[in-house]
Amino acid sequence: MGKVLMKGNEVIGEAAILAGCHYFFGYPITPQSELVAYMAKRLPEVKGLFLQAESEVSAINMVYGASSAGVRVMTSSSSPGFSLKQEGISYLAAANLPAVIVNIARGGPGLGNIQPSQSDYFQVTKGGGHGDYYTPVLAPSTLQEIVDLTQEAFRIADQYRTPVILLGDGMLGQMMEPVEFLKTDNQIVIDKEWATTGTKGDGSPKTITSLDLNDVKLEERNCKLQEKYKLIRRNEIKVDTYLMEDAEMAIVAYGTVARICQSAIDRVRDEGMKIGLIRPISLWPYPTDVIASYCERLNKIVVVEMSAGQMVEDVRLSVEGKVPISFYGRTGGIIPTVEELVEQFQMHGNGVLR
């Protein structure tokens, strides 16, 4: 079908449809509203269903229902709305229900603003809802990558029966870039014999629940979850590197800001600095080992985020004191400019710590 010029939010929608997701429950919030509007227009065309829920809480619980009935389903929101989904996400994780949940993050905390931000990193990778659960988190940095990762998200969700988060921000959601939609294996939807679709023809009643009043039973459920997470940690780590072959200093950055870093790295390389980029694509599971594997050769790591410093903890956990780490962050929806990053990289390259 060739390249088309689309907004990131719309790309998510089209990629989801390509992945066989015909059900979407959403609620408007800037800067993800284009996705909601896109689904409202497109899904009826593929005989799917778009439903505007009365709230984010309701949307995530509609997703819970649709998922328990066995279909590929998606919802999306942005930071404040995403916070409201936390109970629901914990439920999905506990009940082993697959779903793809999009967070097109914006400046926070509180009402904040509608500019791009990466300050929901902790929420999506560690905290969020209650209880011991994780959700795989995929963080694209280009619109073409959105096409791929949206489909991957559905594959992972179904394969492991888990909610998966696609994390973007207002810049990715609202910018346009040419993208190409290609068919992949991720479009194959596996049969879900566990779904509650009515017992007709298939025996005794099935139940979907996250309740185990008995502590031994609940511990069993938790152990199974942890085993699943171990498996995901083993199989689903995604990371990209750029000019790391000979790098002595590494920038670690993801999503939107990784693009800016890449431009800045190009400039600094021109000056002869041996600098490269490690770009985690899966934020959970985190590419700890990949980062650790570079430690020997590096004498400096600079973590850049559009936050006050969140992913930097995962980098520190990966590095365990072996390489000095600096952090550079902007908040409030400000995207650092190439110029300021160049300056930062030069400064740190000279061994000056911030």
Partner: protein, 252 residues
Amino acid sequence: MKVVFERSKGLLNTETHYCPGCTHGIIHRLVAETLEEMDVLEQTIGVASVGCSVLSYQYFNCDMTQAAHGRAPAVATGIKRVLPKDRIVFTYQGDGDLASIGMGEIVHAAARGENITVIFVNNAIYGMTGGQMAPTSLLGQRTATSPEGRQPQTQGLPIRVSEMLATLDGASYIERVSTHDVAHVMKAKKAIRKAFLTQQEEKGFSMVEVLSTCPTNWGLNPEESLQWVKQEMVPYYPLGVYKDRQYKGEES
């Protein structure tokens, strides 16, 4: 011997955790019998809510999903909207679940004319958590969180959910029934049947509000509890059909 009455096949053969005399059990039976009689057990998906009936998924003989507190109508919407039309989807919710935390979800399910059936068990209290005030608790009613009796000035006035939802164009069938004696139990059954038929005929949102007891948290014995329903609850929550619009989307 002819069987006059036996345990419904809509119920699994298991004990329940309900307190002695709690009418949740009667309501379970009525739902189960209705589904059995309509021969839809195999195509029904029930949604259990959070409240004493949270474990109802262990009692009904059909597929069941357990929903977060208050969100059963949203979960049911998700299920109903993605499955073939012949599937019957119902929620089973207490008054804390439906009328307190779940108010947004129930109003919107009704407004959307969501083609589901809601069994709304109003026992004027939070049972499972140990007897706190519900939005449906009567004025003066003593509960764990209204120890001096519910005061209108601080705690407001009980919500008549059926009357309120009946104002919504999306709602098709709404009736309030009671379980306080044999005749009312039989009436309740009829209402529940009508509600499920409304769904089967794709006429939209149906709800039966069933006045129910909580002997444990009311501090009354089971028989006194039924009396309390009759004497205290029914006057404030008049029984009857509040909506029978048999709305079909196309007509409006």
